[in-house]
Symmetry: C2
Subunit: 483 residues, 2 copies
Amino acid sequence: MAQSNSKKLDAITSMDEDFAKWYTDIVKKAELIEYSSVKGCMVIRPYGYAIWENIQNIMNTMFKETGHENVYMPMFIPESLLQKEKDHVEGFAPEVAWVTHGGSEKLEERLCVRPTSETLFCEHYKNIVHSYRDLPKLYNQWCSVVRWEKTTRPFLRSREFLWQEGHTIHATAQDAIEETERMLNVYALFCEKYLAMPVIKGMKTESDKFAGAVSTYCIEALMHDGKALQAGTSHYFGDGFAKAFEIEFADKDNKLKNPHQTSWGVSTRLIGGIIMTHGDNNGLVLPPAVAPTQVVIIPIAQHKEGVLEKANEIYEALKVLGVRVKVDDRNEFSPGWKFSEYEMKGVPVRIEIGPKDIENNQCVIATRYNGEKQFVSLDDMLDTVKDLLENKIPQGMFDKALENREKHTYYCESFDEINKALEENGDGFVRAPWCGSEECEDKVKEATGISSRCIPFMQDKMARKCVCCGKDTDKVIYWGKAY
Amino acid sequence: MAQSNSKKLDAITSMDEDFAKWYTDIVKKAELIEYSSVKGCMVIRPYGYAIWENIQNIMNTMFKETGHENVYMPMFIPESLLQKEKDHVEGFAPEVAWVTHGGSEKLEERLCVRPTSETLFCEHYKNIVHSYRDLPKLYNQWCSVVRWEKTTRPFLRSREFLWQEGHTIHATAQDAIEETERMLNVYALFCEKYLAMPVIKGMKTESDKFAGAVSTYCIEALMHDGKALQAGTSHYFGDGFAKAFEIEFADKDNKLKNPHQTSWGVSTRLIGGIIMTHGDNNGLVLPPAVAPTQVVIIPIAQHKEGVLEKANEIYEALKVLGVRVKVDDRNEFSPGWKFSEYEMKGVPVRIEIGPKDIENNQCVIATRYNGEKQFVSLDDMLDTVKDLLENKIPQGMFDKALENREKHTYYCESFDEINKALEENGDGFVRAPWCGSEECEDKVKEATGISSRCIPFMQDKMARKCVCCGKDTDKVIYWGKAY
């Protein structure tokens, strides 16, 4: 295995040297995306898209298990429709793309390319919801949306991105609030179980909630560089949209009422989250559940008798188990070059098999996230790989990410403590008492450069004083710099 | 079962009375689509979208088995990029939607919403294809596209529609031509095996090919009303796009060459094809492979002891087999009402189970496409249903559709024969000798109102005379009215 140290020549920028460059190096060199000539829009390449497909498949199952159905709405919204809900249009109009011409003709009314589809769903619900028997409608849509951002970064903020948007409508406020919470929990479970990404569940402050929502719930994750990533949101709308769009239903008591609505979404941004939660200086590190290739088998001295046969035997055995596995038997690259290649691409497990291994009825199993290598008897290979993919690796990745988050979560009781913590330990989550006023929220932002992330559901209910105004409060909030 | 004749009050328009209205009645009443306030764009409702998801799942497997990978390109194309290939821009520019503003700012260059993505794929291939080792790239994309049509109809012609577009690039012309043919065969196999829709495989005439293509292959199906539906196309581009976009690769002989390209697509139009191939005056008739619900179980006298239990037992047994099955145990509707409901929705198999059936250890199995009902011993129920879904129904539906097509395919040798056949038997395919000239093609259209559909791969190579000019030819072509 002498070749195992011959790294690829074009190593990526180190994370500590330039985090932003490290990030874009990974998205390019792991072949997740390629830039296009449309500013802020990206080509999602097969390897990147396969990660998204795996995310979609798992989530789709979770959505269907919770009773949701997929639909497809038009991608265009007439300007007059967008304007029906006042807060909503104020939030979105400044950042939409406008279609003004169809062929050579000027349109009578401009159409925006959907930045989100609340207005379209409302128009549809008005057509199909008339009685309590029609409720709830639990709809979801997978599509792309457009927001005309000034500054863009692959996966994190782009002018077009892929996402899912759930839109549900219920007879009562309670049903809608339960749905809002249910879907936030689905998101949190998905992130923690399948992406090995610990998240804080909480609520956005008034100033930070979705345009048109009564309340916005969110999950927040901490990235390697100490910045926060909003990984998913779930909004409770009350009956505000229903009133604006005149959606009414005859309830059991025969009275006409406005139904209550929710919406919730996650996007390809999650892929950015995976990169910045798990990646390292050798490249991407993928959680097994969404890795396009879970195991790569690399034959050593593959020209020697029996090596390729044994590699293919292992391949077949893993494939039967449902593992996404490949053998790389290319002649033109050394094993060491291949090691680097699959490290860059974040393949969770590498199996090396050479003549000596075969002699000893063993193979080498290397784990991407922690770099560990072990000799494993070929008799135990299947059990070992299965246990790694299903338990050890996701758990290990989650623990590592959680440890990093804990290390960069600062419990502060004053401005001084906040500034000191950030200065000494770098960016991170600041968990601090807050009186709940927008004024204090603004002042913290001014004084420290960090902004509110969320009011966590997990509160400790201790009597303390707001870091800003000093008023008594038992409420804590997370602050941080955000992507 | 006295209630079985109590049809729903709002029956659909009869096919013979008004075919177009029959069609729109079905798309609305089977809850496939709903109109939106954006002209020519539709809401695809859960039942309609589930059909599309089933189509996607089967096709995706077929695409992956033939080595293709999914990617995602931006939805916008800068005007200058669209203009790079002359024929292509001429074909598409008149029918694209133009984005001119982002937020409140006017864009420096207009962007069109993709009507198809050849230009984007070419731009990407120019970036990633440099050597023969990089070839072929076999990419596919699932997305929505926009074409600013004047006249629109749900699924058949809408301003936005969902589709897949394959885009591949190869080292040699031969490889690209083989790919073009391979994917046409995949489409034909899909339509015939999974949609039970017989298709003619052939080639478009010069005047009818895709903008920018060297040749366009297609599959054509005949609808109930005798009109033809182009159900899928596969294009061979030669190296025209590669030259226009300056895509070059170093071949094995170290010479720089232009690669050869293809593209191929099918869309939600297939759902329109299903409706008009199999539907009847009771509503939709779905092929089992893509039916969201394959079997519906309707308990008769469900308040009687043991009926619901037995219905649920059947449900569980079918579910374990992987059948998409549901029990409709709603109290507020009679069995007869439910029969009509699921006939409208085209559910392939209905199982009725009542107290007398249970006494006799049997159930009634009704088959949607031919209306047949049979008593089946509960011991044979699983085998019977499985055989119906996998063999008898798809085969029966295919045979019925083929019979209809044969009945409406007219073999003609002269203008007179064409006009007579159409007058006596109604619209249909006209299979007739053609010399191959565009002039004759135009004259046939003028004289008979039908246009060329395709030059079929299956030729009989008999010596005959062109129906128009009378020149000797051994070539036949299909003519017809097209959707």
